[in-house]
């Protein structure tokens, strides 16, 4: 087998496993955990378009997530509009917001950008918490919105069991990974990367770094908002402190950095490590030794960063490539 | 025995190797020039001597002691002082404070006042500018501060990285005159320059560095006559 075929075979194997998993893993608990894992991998991959390729550290993506969640929920609950439509509209709104916030902030350097996005995210939360009605829309301030689980079905993006959610978020994840893959190979990806590492050099080559970053931001916020709508339909309850929280913005960034920012598989790897650590340590220690699970989480963050500052993808891609090479050689 | 002896070093920036199997010697009291084009590895070489980078292979010794694994502050304490490319002044500090920080190392810090007088003696302009922020000075003055700051460290071996960079010709002459004075007072000087004519004319010996390798070495006058040097660097 050639190297290319090996890679294809490997990819097919992974796809078979992830698509077949619900057939073996019948427990809704684990499906629920997996749905959230994929959701976070999806969010982080979307974040990566800005945070990874454009070389800045946005810490306010929860605002876009919130825009998506609120748009689809308000439209669905109060006007009966299908969440699929709300999802796209939320994406568009988030994308406009993203460009508006990106215009002034992309001029900033490192820490300023990070802090500005934190303030943007928190400011968004404060606004939602303070506003009960936005024109004809009831967003209910700090009390959040419930989605009555009445009309189950694909049209309403609402199901009684976990499997449909699992497949929807899986497809979304694969789609966003594909998008990233193509962007990373496109001119835009190249420019973004160049602009992230050597902004002056890129600029001198005539690359419009600012515009590239804005395009990335628009895409990233659009994709993030889609996940917000999905999450709202999955959990059927949203409120500002859960969908527009700093914790969420941070966790997305953590997953990216732990996995390896700027790489395509990084977010997935990061989610694969951090989500189980966070879930299982809470399950096993959360009740007996309050806080221990967050100590473990914190320790994992510290240790991975000390030993693998480039993230998990670095040794794993090396191992993967090594394996491919070995198989490749053996088959010849 | 050579004052500074570099033997067969390889140096890389990340995955990119910049210096290949390089050896050179500097004897006490000499002025040695390293010349070469952009990207030849000159700055990398100086950074390696200063301990900002460490060689993957080979060794560097100073007065017989190996220094290639030492951190920069220890190397400064031994008396090797670099005046970095682009001056790298502490822009938001006064000229005086820049000089004081220059004398931070163990050998110099007890003689700050005396050293400062010596520096002001050599570079009287700096005394006038004493309380001005370094960033408000002109390019030539900034280079003076950089040199003064280097002298504050009481160097045994002073390394200058492109001191003429970005300066008007008249200022360049000033700078080289100052370097000559420093050498005449007994400080060994290792000079990295693109301005080959000036630097070789005040040096004792020279090395030509190309693509991370020493291509030619010899006495300064001989190098000035060398045909390769002439065509490649002197534009003749």
């Amino acid at each position: 087998m050639t190297r290319e075929n090996l890679q294809k075979a490997f990819l097919t194997l992974v796809l078979i496993i992830v698509f077949g998993l619900p057939l073996i893993l019948r427990s809704p608990t684990y499906l629920h955990i997996l749905v959230l894992l994929y959701l976070y991998a999806y969010l982080t991959t979307s974040w990566n378009l800005v945070g990874g390729f454009a070389g800045v550290l946005p810490l306010g993506h929860a605002a876009f997530f919130g825009i998506g969640a609120y748009t689809s929920t308000v439209l669905y609950v109060q006007y009966g509009v299908s969440p699929w439509f709300g999802m796209v509209l939320g994406g568009v709104l988030a994308s406009i917001t993203g460009v508006m916030i990106g215009l002034p902030t992309f001029k900033m350097r490192g820490a300023y950008f990070a802090l500005a996005t934190i303030a943007f995210g928190e400011g968004m939360r404060v606004m939602v918490e303070n506003i009960d009605h936005l024109g004809p829309f009831n967003i209910n301030g700090p009390r959040g919105l419930q989605i009555p689980p009445l009309n189950v079905g694909l049209a309403n993006l609402m199901f009684t069991n976990k499997e449909p959610y699992y497949y929807i978020i899986l497809v979304m994840l694969i789609a966003v990974l594909a998008v990233t893959y193509f962007i990373s190979r496109s001119r835009l990806g190249y420019y973004l990367n160049a602009g992230g590492e050597e902004p002056e050099a890129a600029m001198s080559l005539g690359v419009n770094v600012a515009r590239c970053k804005l395009i990335a931001m628009a895409m990233s916020s659009f994709l993030t908002a889609l996940a917000g709508s999905f999450y709202a339909q999955f959990s059927l309850f949203i409120h500002p402190k859960s969908v527009i929280s700093l914790d969420l913005s941070f966790e997305i960034a953590f997953i990216a950095l732990i996995g390896g920012r700027g790489s395509i598989v990084g977010p997935v790897l990061g989610a694969l490590l951090l989500r189980p650590v966070s879930d299982f340590s809470r399950i096993y220690f959360g009740a007996t030794l309050p806080g221990l699970h967050l100590i473990i989480f914190g320790m994992v963050l510290i240790l991975v960063m000390i030993y693998l500052p480039r993230g998990l993808q670095q040794p794993l891609t090396k191992a993967y490539n090594g394996l491919l090479n070995r198989l490749d050689r053996r088959s010849r | 025995m050579a004052f500074l002896e570099i033997s067969n070093i390889d140096v890389s920036y990340g995955d990119v190797q910049v210096i290949f199997d390089l050896s050179l010697k500097v004897y006490e009291g000499e002025v040695v020039s390293i010349i070469g084009g952009n990207g030849a590895g000159k700055s990398t070489l100086l950074k390696t001597i200063s301990g900002l980078l460490h060689p993957q292979q080979g060794s560097i010794s100073f007065e017989g002691k190996p220094i290639h694994v030492s951190p920069p502050e220890e190397i400064v304490n031994l008396g090797i002082v670099q005046i970095p490319e682009g001056r790298k002044l502490f822009t938001l500090m006064s000229v005086r404070d820049n000089l004081i920080v220059g004398g931070y190392n163990n050998r110099a810090n007890r003689h700050i006042a005396q050293l400062m007088e010596e520096v002001y003696g050599l570079l009287p302009r700096l005394r006038e500018r004493e309380s001005q922020l370094a960033m408000t000075l002109s390019g030539g003055e900034q280079q003076m501060v950089a040199i003064g700051r280097g002298l504050m460290a009481k160097p045994k071996l002073l390394m200058l990285d492109e001191p003429s960079l970005g300066l008007a010709p008249i200022l360049i002459r000033d700078i080289f005159e100052t370097v000559r004075k420093i050498a005449d007072q007994g400080t060994t000087v290792l000079l990295v320059e693109q301005d080959v004519k000036h630097s070789l004319s005040l040096s004792d010996r020279g090395y030509v560095l190309e693509n991370g390798r020493i291509e030619i070495e010899g006495l300064a006058e001989a190098l000035l006559e060398n045909s390769h040097v002439k065509t490649a660097y002197l534009g003749a």
């Binding site: 608990t29 629920h32 700090p142 419930q146 809470r282 309050p290 040794p315 | -």
Partner: protein, 415 residues
Amino acid sequence: MKKPIKEIGVCSAVLWVLTMALGAGSVCLAQDKVVKVGNIIPLSGPSASVGQQGKNAREMAVEEINAAGGIKSLGGAKLVMLYTDSESKPEKGVAEAERFINTEKVHVLTGCWNSAVTYPTTAVAERYGIPFIVPVSVADKITEQGFKTVFRIAAKDSWWTRDQFAFLRDMEKEFNAKLEKIAFVYENGDWGKGFAEQWKELAKKGDYKVVLDEPYPSTATDLSPIVQKIKRANPDVLLLVSNAADAILLTNTLADYRVKLKAIIGSGGGHADPSFLQAAGKNAQYLFDIVEWETDVNKPGAKEANEKFKSRYGYNLAGESVDAYLAMYVLADAMERAASLDPVKIREALATTNLGSGRGMIVGYDAVEFDKTGQNKHASLVMVQINDIGKGMERITVWPKNARRAGYQPVFPMP
């Protein structure tokens, strides 16, 4: 760099194996005949304090029930408690409910204190038909979602606000003092907003003049601007909804700025937190608070239960922990009658609960009986006043009058 990578790999592998082994272990346990109770409460994060109290109260009740022979109709089956930390986050509550129901196969769920966590979590229980006992999340909505499996022990917020105003009326009559101007100050969350909306209605009905209606962020680091606002609005009565940190800060700041009020009425929560009395000390004197229960309640067993609790955990039972304590007895009673681990039967038994006596009934009201929505019909509230009558600051029941501590004369209006 090679070695550390290996270490990390080994570490994470060990972690995985460990968690999986633990997971397998907990599944094995489920074979004995036990009643598994899943409790979702905040044990870390901003509400950790109340979560911990609820956990302690549950633990004490379950120990008592099991020591007394467990569920006799199930052959002495023991109650087995499973706890999990919601961190006050809805998504964690939902995930944990899923896990408790599907993986741990719990028979009953309880929780979650934060109303924002309780809504979506009860929806999960409803979907699987697992009974969910809510000791204290007070938002009306929780029992008004049309769910069949949700049972709330505590009063809902419309009753809390109703009783706060009834209390005010009664006190005005009793002490012949007319209070007119009223101020609302509350944390800007679903709890505070819920109360404030009902206060507004009640104030209108009761002919009070609302001089201030002020939400504040419960993460505020300085509450003196709010206190100044209160001072300048110059109300007679101040109604509060606060979490612990802000309740303490607000009380101390009110005292600092010498704000003269005729009555301050809290709404449990932060004001009922055991740390509150310790941290606010003398500044809390004469403050009224509405609670479900107080240590001086005139009920057999109440005093003993509190003493036992205090000697074990170092602080008094509070209204909210008593609800958790009672919830376990309500559950035991229902299990006894259900004589089955079938959730449908348990739900039916819970729905027909009429518990009027027994060790758990140390609450002020007569019985626990759920209406169609799952709300405890009898749940009632008492008002306490914080005062020092010789043994340091303590909480003294003053209202309703028939529950008032013998010999105590409430101080009203505040001097």
